[in-house]
Subunit: 160 residues, 2 copies
DNA sequence: CGGACGTTCATACTTTGGTATGAAATTGAA
DNA sequence: TTCAATTTCATACCAAAGTATGAACGTCCG
């Protein structure tokens, strides 16, 4: 019950603030009215002050009302911005090929554009070993050249 | 000169509208002042009317000022939403390379995994012509082999 | 233990890729 | 029209990729 009241008060706190402002204004105006009208007798300045005061009040009210709406819009769109897409290896397709660890390593370096000689250097192996791994993985991938292997690896999403 | 004036009037049309409103209001108020003060002698009602009137005016002004800003916010976020994932050729990077039409065609088929012989068949050209195009595009792309050309083309997003 | 599998390497050979050079035809702009 | 760029093709040669075969070593598993 207390929680319900708190919620209600919180929800309509702007209206409460507005009512309070009105009350304060009425006292202020009565004081001004007494000063200007009774003491100085200058009605036009008094009217002018009221006009400016309530114009500012109107602006403030409108800003309070629209601020919430603008925030909502921003939030909705931010949810859609989080649509990013990092690369993920298709483990299913990868395991279908039954590549060995070394063969997959060689394939990954191939996709990066490395030559057999460069791959041999990277893995501290001889050129002939790389050729063997390459030839074997071509058979498993059912291709006849490194360029087709690269294209298929990209298409099946088994390398970055 | 006339165009300049038009532009200025258009840019500050809101301020002009506000000034006009003020003028109209002054006449209205003077008329009301005469009615209430001289005729009915009820100052409080007159003040109340002014307060309500200028509150509404303030709200209207604030809405005019914020309407444009809200539209801007929405537009900014929509631009980011348009950043979807379908592949787009990076025309800037592509034009930097200054590839000829044929060279680009050969590159595209290379990326698809085709051999020089297959590319020659596809484009109804001789093998030696493909080799020439390939060699020339390698120089322009600053690479030394087709696999590096493929990797770079993918990285720069100049082929699908 | 023995055999399947993976890894490494070598040699020999064929195919493909890549460079160099030259040349002819075409096209578009100065 | 003249000139530069593009496109086409050829020949020759070297480098790299790819295939085939064999062999040695280590690990894991039934």
């Amino acid at each position: 019950m207390m929680h319900f009241l708190k919620t209600v008060f919180h929800r309509y706190r702007h209206i409460g603030a507005y009512g309070l402002s009105i009350a304060v204004l009425v006292f202020l105006l009565k004081w001004l009215q007494w000063n200007f009208l009774i003491v100085d007798n200058s009605l036009d300045i008094y009217i002018g002050l009221i006009a400016v005061l309530f114009t500012v009040l109107g602006i403030w009210i409108a800003l309070q009302l629209t601020r919430g709406r603008k925030a909502d819009v921003v939030t909705v769109h931010q949810v859609q911005i989080v649509e990013a897409e990092p690369f993920r290896v298709d483990q299913v397709e990868l395991e279908k090929l039954k590549l060995t660890t070394r063969e997959y390593e060689v394939l990954q370096l191939m996709v990066k554009g490395h030559s057999n000689a460069e791959i041999a250097e990277s893995l501290f192996l001889s050129l002939s070993t790389i050729k063997t791994h390459a030839s074997n993985l071509f058979v498993k991938m059912d291709v006849t050249s490194r360029t087709k292997a690269i294209e298929k690896a990209k298409r099946l999403r088994i390398t970055a």
